[in-house]
Amino acid sequence: MFVLLDMGLFSKAQIYTDEKVVFTTDRSSCVSGDTVWLIINLFSSNPEFSNIVHFQLDTENNKHITKSIIKCEQKKGNGYLVVPDSLSSGIYFLKAFTNFQKYASSAQVQEKTLVVYNRFEEEIKTFKKPVLLDSDQIIRSSNFNIKSSKQIIHPDEKINLSFLIPDSLKNSIADLILDVRLYDPFSDNIVTDFTKTIIRKNNGEPLKEINGILISGEVLNSATSKPESGVTVMLSIADSIPYFDYYFSDRDGKFYFYLKDIGGLADLIIQPAPEPNKSFQIKLFNNFIETPENYLEEITLKNEEAKVIDNILITSRYAKYFNLPEINTNRTFIKPSRFKYPFYGKPTTTVYPREFINLDNFNEISRELLQASRYRERKDTALLSLINFETNDFFESSPFILLNGIPIFDTKLLINRNSESIDRIDIIAEQRCFGDMLFDGVLAVYLNDKSLSWLNNNHNIFRFDYQTVQNPANKKQNKNTSKMEPNSPDFRKVVFWKRLNYNGKKIQNEIKMPHIKGDYIVTVSAVTETGKLLIDTSKITVK
């Protein structure tokens, strides 16, 4: 079959004025709880382009299910999306975009259907399929002459697959992906890739995310629940070299932070600068896009389709029993890049209380150990000031106080701290500037307890678990077993999924088939340098 409809994402003559993401998945359907693998190609005509791609899985009416943020290198990326275990059976839509696309005018994104079967369902007889206009669909079929070394294949047998890119395309291939997986007669005949235009809702920052992500939110006045402009919002990440930044909320009450070189699950502390007689709320936005809704029509599955779906569900259950290697979603937090010293500079002096006798409260600690300070307790607060070593006089205002790297403005949090609870105290006895913030000295107290449990009672400090750039995943054995048994059955649904090195010649790959009998679909996806996605498929049978 050689059909090439030039309705791809770009016309031949077009020079990209926007950024574009083209992606492929390792499967057209999955069982809830499965991991869907992604291969990404980025296109841009600008020398400076985003390398952070946002993936989201939505329902047909833009309800957001889950998300992944993947970093690309040299316009190529790999990643995964874990489909929630509890997700109902249905058709969902995978979308990929860059932050720059989100705010660029008329940006189009690729949408791809993903069929999900809920693992706890017994029999699936009916399903919904998307109704799409011809103008939305992109069908890119090509002939790559896919051949198998054997016609009759037995389970657990090795075969050689080969294919050949036509001469007319040889010099324009940007990426080549080979996918061999269990054939699903339902999802493999309704899966479509199509383009949608992003619905622009709010004006935001069309920042090109390069090795970093943009975090946005808004600050609201607690009394009126309305966005508040002109508030200095501070972001902190606790650490021995803490991360700190600030943003002056705009007229819509919005703030933005750009975190570079960050990965995994981040523990973000955001707080508005305190103002007298006012309290604020902080709301953090997740970075999603909205596209026009998809319409679904209910259909009755054919017997053959329903049978294969049943088998897929049974296979999935057996795979769990026999402990198929699972993906290790590495959520370890990779901190954003920082300098050699904290944002407040090299300390004038550092005090380690454990080197001295045990002191019961901060009043004693300041008197005995902190030579450059003046500390006065009044009722249940404390007044603190540091000496300015430049002028040999005390600062008129209190220093910038940090607890485990988090700014605090209520000195009550310090009063009852004793020597045993404190790891170290950094004192900066000079006037410091950090951008346009000016500190009359800095006192940074680092506790032995790094848990930040003291934040719980503070109403002006807001803590968020924020999923940032995906860490590279490692396949590992299921943690409930010591190791995979050598005689365990092979229940893989996706047999082969790899980006190939293309050198212009015929491509051959040896593949070991799993133990599941049935039809398998071989898909060769070629991404051209102009962003077209060309696909050829072939079926093989394991008997």
């Binding site: 010293y341 500037c433 346009d436």
Partner: protein, 241 residues
Amino acid sequence: MRKLTILYTVLLLVLPFIIYGQSTKTPWQSVSTASNSFKSKLSGKTYIIPYTSNGTHFYHHDFLLAKITLVNGEVFEDVRVRYNSYLDELVCFNPNLNSLYTIDKFIVKEFELTSPIHGNQQFVKLKWKDYRSDERYFNVLYDGDISLLVFYKTEEKKTSPYMDKTGYLKDVELVLEESFYILKNDSVLNKFTPKRKSFAELFPENKKQVKQILRKNKIYKYNSSNLIKAFSAFEDAGIVK
């Protein structure tokens, strides 16, 4: 009348006492939308020009617009700076705070500026261990496989007593000194004494050619501009790549 007398007496007794209270100044009082940026924030210690400096603490005669590159690769253009050769610190002007500060050396990789007197200059920060610091700013005179660098240092020198402009009696004056260094590929800094013998030691295989080039270009005095001229001539002759 008596009551007025008592009131005035009380006021006179109370007036000399100054009440101290903590200032309500906040660290963010100068922050505005002009402060917002997606780059790292430039940080440093507030700097006050000493009243006795008379400008002699600085290498440059005035504040100049510079391009500063941080160690993380970020570039800040058009920052108003003046290199303080007495402290070996880069003094910057923050227009939003309307104040000077010495930018933290640990965040700076290099800075470039154009001086009306000295022309284009590139200063790089390199490791250097002495009792004062472990990093210094060096002016790159020539950049290649072998780089020629100069370190400017304003030192106090004893003189006979004199009255300075502020009316104080002094016996020291500030003098700017230049020290030259060679940086080779192995990133080792070696002090370079600018004289003919040093060139011969630097290029032992091309001693004769080096002497010829220096003679041909009439380089007899080894100041910064002549050193640049010498190294350029060496490069043209293929001695320095």
